[in-house]
Chain length 295, copies 2
Amino acid sequence: MSTTTNLPAVTVLGLGPMGRSLAGAFVEAGLRTTVWNRTPGKDRELIERGAAGAASAEEAVAAGELTVVCVVNYDASDAILRRDDVTRALKGRTVVNLTADTPGRARDTAQWAADHGVGYLDGAIMTPAPSIGTPEAVFLHSGPRDLYDRHRAALEVLGGTHTHLGEEIGRAATFDIALLDVFWTAMAGYAHAVALARAEGVTAGELAPLAQGIAAILPPLFETFAEDFDSGSHSGEINPITSAVSTMAHVVAVSESHGIDAAVMRAVEGQARRVIGLGHGVDGYIRVAEVLGRH
Amino acid sequence: MSTTTNLPAVTVLGLGPMGRSLAGAFVEAGLRTTVWNRTPGKDRELIERGAAGAASAEEAVAAGELTVVCVVNYDASDAILRRDDVTRALKGRTVVNLTADTPGRARDTAQWAADHGVGYLDGAIMTPAPSIGTPEAVFLHSGPRDLYDRHRAALEVLGGTHTHLGEEIGRAATFDIALLDVFWTAMAGYAHAVALARAEGVTAGELAPLAQGIAAILPPLFETFAEDFDSGSHSGEINPITSAVSTMAHVVAVSESHGIDAAVMRAVEGQARRVIGLGHGVDGYIRVAEVLGRH
């Protein structure tokens, strides 16, 4: 435990699969770790491995200099943190909330923390529970830089890469939401594609290598489209949105000819057609992003 | 031209940006190349570079052993190929149709070709016009293997990689449609994510590097999900679909709180909730693909 003697005592609130992985990583690294969960019994295996249990959330947070929260959403974290005795016990300590929710909820919680003398960092975990403690884990953080620097070594015990995205407390949740938006939409496209391929007699195993090729062309396009969007240019010289919609219409037609739900591609096509209807048909596809946000 | 003396005379029908690139690559490689377009004038620059013009489509196809077609869709290619004089001129020759459309249209055209003694290959071009003649070009082909092998050297003049996906004539179009499904759905997710990030004060340039990280985790998931789908297993042990939908709901809520159209993610969430409603909530997300195709 010589490498961790300077690290703070930590508390983990919430012992779902992710919370247990976080607490387990702290225990493995030799940090004094106190754990608590709203419904009892989830702490048993962690206590066997060396964690301390606690009879209440207030007892748990009083035992740690740094409290890491990982519950289902901010309704759940509010229900734990904003009880008077817990809030009192947190005064002068730091909370890192790794619960997933919206940027607005993160800002609201930061205000509550400021009102009660609690140090507050917000964070997001971008990788599944088994990644915790391994190089694959990806953590995003936001909030006061000095507070982050003070607890950085303890957080890095959780493995992987930790990125501080800035002082604005909503940034971790904003990146989290935006990245999950990309992820789940892309996965929906893939799920639909394998359903459509199967209906045409092509297995997912046959499609997968070429789908991986499509995934490989996304990163440079993401960069080009980011430049276009930030600069307000939307050149469609190589691939105007009018040509994209005819492809989208083919996907819908083939899909529905097999009785496969095409609601996602119908929505994608609808947004592209709205852009054309507004007179931007010669622009590139990224014009969609600008039109989506118009009021 | 010593390397191309064994290559056939080729004809290119359709001189949009893609057709011009294809014809240009044949000309550059020294193949005797005849070009034709429904509306006149598009052949001028190619003729200056050494291509032969033609007064009609039948004259054009009579000049080439191999005719490459690249027009807007199969309505357009039918209107050219299925006129009696053109069909007669094509007898004993080979058509490679690189026009994008549905697998059904490819099969229908193969039947027409068989009925009239025309050799027929169907293909798809997965990369934009400027890629033609470069290593970046990606071509998919399907149809009789011997016919493909006979014309392979001429097709490879177009650059990049050429993959013969099998004898079933609809396969090139099936892969094309399925891959474009993945591509445009993923791009829709990215366009939405940058709109959402902007509303929360994060630029696309800030988001892009992390979005590229998300694109990088897709290929191994595509492989795992393909195995799950083909084998009929849909394990959600690490990430059950019930946990995915709460993320999707966050994306919708943040998006709509800013007045940003969330129709695509609403459709993604709706499909996931249908899976849960059918009793598959503990399964992994790929269960969506199976439910999408249920009748």
